[in-house]
Subunit: 197 residues, 4 copies
Amino acid sequence: MEKPDKREEIVRAALALIAVHGFHGAPMAMIANRAGVGTGTIYLYFENKDVLIAELYKDIEDRIYPHIMEGYMPEKPVRERFIHLGTASLRYFIENPLDFSYLEQFHNSPYGVAFRRDSVLGQKRNCNVYRELLEVGVDGLTIKNLPFVILFALAFGPLLTVAREHILGFISLDDSLIARTVEACWDGIRRYGAVCG
Amino acid sequence: MEKPDKREEIVRAALALIAVHGFHGAPMAMIANRAGVGTGTIYLYFENKDVLIAELYKDIEDRIYPHIMEGYMPEKPVRERFIHLGTASLRYFIENPLDFSYLEQFHNSPYGVAFRRDSVLGQKRNCNVYRELLEVGVDGLTIKNLPFVILFALAFGPLLTVAREHILGFISLDDSLIARTVEACWDGIRRYGAVCG
Amino acid sequence: MEKPDKREEIVRAALALIAVHGFHGAPMAMIANRAGVGTGTIYLYFENKDVLIAELYKDIEDRIYPHIMEGYMPEKPVRERFIHLGTASLRYFIENPLDFSYLEQFHNSPYGVAFRRDSVLGQKRNCNVYRELLEVGVDGLTIKNLPFVILFALAFGPLLTVAREHILGFISLDDSLIARTVEACWDGIRRYGAVCG
Amino acid sequence: MEKPDKREEIVRAALALIAVHGFHGAPMAMIANRAGVGTGTIYLYFENKDVLIAELYKDIEDRIYPHIMEGYMPEKPVRERFIHLGTASLRYFIENPLDFSYLEQFHNSPYGVAFRRDSVLGQKRNCNVYRELLEVGVDGLTIKNLPFVILFALAFGPLLTVAREHILGFISLDDSLIARTVEACWDGIRRYGAVCG
DNA sequence: GATGAATGAGCGTTCATTCAT
DNA sequence: CATGAATGAACGCTCATTCAT
């Protein structure tokens, strides 16, 4: 029972504090205190604050991936797969507001730049799923022929903004609204050539 | 000749430093130094650092507004007006990367929250132009019937992301790409029901 | 009257504390406190603790030089000049025990090594007087033909040891003892070949 | 085979690290690591770091004594015995630079003071050999009539300085240079009264 | 108004020491 | 005996802010 190991506690405390107060609003001593450990203990698990911040980021990524891949069916049409990914991503964010806030803080900071975020949503694995899907769509003439980075912005940029508004309480997303938002994102990237033929 | 008054110099220095190094990478002494004034002088014009940061934000807004309104013709159709606003906004960002970086820093920080950013692009006046346009579109059945906040996210969220990628050098926007990106944003919010009738 | 400027106070406090408690027994806060200034004030005058330590060393050197050169007569025979320098050096040390203790601490520490102490007593100017005198003596066959470093050790090494013993209270030096000690140092380096005619 | 017992390993590791990096450049954890033991293990053998440092000092002394006494012949004349002791001491230092560095660090530190080092070279036993020899010389009118502490400084102070210069690489001692240096030390303390008679 | 020297609370980090295993 | 994870006091240093000039 006494097993929520210390690293876990530290990560949890750091996430909660940084998400709410920002990087410099969350001193190491405060994190340690909230985690119920001594200050020095943090340095047993993380070389310094920068490393802690970066590891936190990776931890979140590792949690997101399985979530969005659950129920993902590669054999389905591009549109359906896109809806799945978009919906799952948005859902994850509004269900894990701390993770979302942290991610946003991280991206807009010197730390994030060091990570060469090729995209906004994620790094290695996550990003690849999105990228692959968009490329298949472009090749199959289902999606507009635009650079990946722009497609990505069109497809997922709005989801980030919407998630933020929801978390800040400026809007309340329900299943219907989520669905319609993701559909609208699809409208942004889909091709219209043969639509009415 | 002795007139680039001190407040102006301070604002300019603060913007340049914060945009590049972040809020906590730009100490007051460094800002004063760059502005060519004494440290104490800053406090003659701004109550404290928080106030300076907030005023900086408002200054930028005040610069953006005239820029996007130049050539704006209220009597044109919604679609054209949207293209105008989107293009002008995106152009402003990539032509004023310091302003853009500052804005992003501001939004993702405790400072930004204090400002109750109803929207991402702007505050009072700016936002109102966007809001009014979107509302007209919804009423006229040209734009999807979604909450303003979501429409806003669909319409301008991608522009922010794309501007960032451009500024970071991950993509190079030219006139054509800008045009196609803004068009795609329009596709995201436009209504399709009667399109082919 | 209110003019014992802050840098001076800091130097004095640092010297007193480090001489007695050693480098790591004299925290910056303690030095500041003793100097009657704020902690941050030290950093107005010295970039960091290492720099403070090094500057302190140079300050002491600058004080020693005029002292040992007072009454020094370059036209006198080597022996007399040696007695003058040795006596003046030893006198300075026992009259300024803080300076002496500091010097010893400095030499036996990473800081001192960075200074490439070519000799034990001093650095640039000081050392040169000693060196020049010894070289003249060697050339004139008055002093043993040994490497400078060894001559220096024979001539001044005992003075350091004796000064330390005096300061620690294990011996009490008076004028006579000082004179006989310096004479003995001279015996160590002088040449004996033609002594008895 | 499993016998280079832990205490021995700890002492060896501590000596190597402190000699090179100084007292505060050698944390307990680093010493333990180098010794191949757990941090806590050190505290099984030494009450705390101060005690470890002091014991280390005593260990070195215990190693020096047999070395300088090897071949020492009490029945020989004072001069020859002095040359023997001086040569053996200097040799030991340059052959065991770690021991020498440690000794110097120790002497110039709060730790050393606590030891009331009556002399520079050593403590009880070592010192006694030196002391006894010098006293015999004084009584026999071979050595100058000066307080023991001063004679000691004249006789062995230069050897310390010379050893340091050698270890730091500012000079390279060979057999001849060692012999001439020790002879010069003797010149410093010997009596000259009847020399030419 | 304008200055910048002065301040000290607060930060990130280290490390001697303890103690449950 | 032996361990090394855990601790937290203490350190060097920064920087927003003040105020005498």
